[in-house]
Symmetry: C2
Subunit: 106 residues, 2 copies
DNA sequence: TGCTCATATGGTAAAATCACCAAATGTTCA
DNA sequence: TGAACATTTGGTGATTTTACCATATGAGCA
């Protein structure tokens, strides 16, 4: 594996890792139909302002979202919306796991 | 958010998390064109047998791969191949980040 | 049965992640 | 300018992840 290949796979893994936290995944899904300000997330998740802010920073640094400050507020949106096209496949993985679990019990 | 919704998003995040490690993502990509035995991974990655085995176990428990023992060897394959279908999008995220970095320097 | 090979599991120390609190920053408005 | 607001940053302790080593399991073969 060349250093370039290694760097690429690390960057890609980093994208998955960023989405690999329930709160961050939820945030990404919230951005499906457009931008949201930070305050909207804090309102809906029962978590500290700073916690949300740090999650957003992880998503931003992974390249999943971009932010824009307008007035007092900061708005976030998906940088590369195709990310969301992934979800049906992920749900398929989850469903397969659940089905297997049911089969095992039955 | 209902308990069901919460459980679903946690399960989905877990799939992303499983892919969110360079070695595990690499393993998943290796499985693109069919099954591989554990020994093949160990050969190509410079890591301990037990390390690879544990990564495989994470992927398995997340529902990404399935294993099958045949004779002395254990073979792994992708359970839900669509996982790989969206790599171009992930690469797009990464590329966008790199481009931005270049622009910033230039 | 006993040996060897392929893989898994348990233990452990170092590093990373997470959520909260407190304090800093930067923006608007009086 | 100064108060109020939205968000970020720094610090901390608890928990999780990771990679290695040593040991266990389980299959095939002598």
């Amino acid at each position: 594996m060349t250093p370039q290949e290694k760097a690429l796979i690390e960057a890609k893994a980093n994208v998955f890792k960023a989405l690999g936290h329930p709160t961050r995944l939820w945030i990404a899904e919230q951005l499906a139909d457009g931008e949201r300000c930070v305050c909207e997330f804090v309102e809906k998740v029962d978590a500290d302002f700073s916690t949300i802010s740090k999650h957003l920073s992880v998503l931003k640094q992974a390249g999943v979202v971009v932010d824009e400050k307008r007035g007092k507020m900061v708005y976030y949106r998906l940088k590369v919306p195709c990310i969301l096209k992934y979800m049906p496949c992920i749900e398929e993985v989850v469903q397969a796991g659940i089905q297997e679990h049911i089969d095992m019990l039955g």
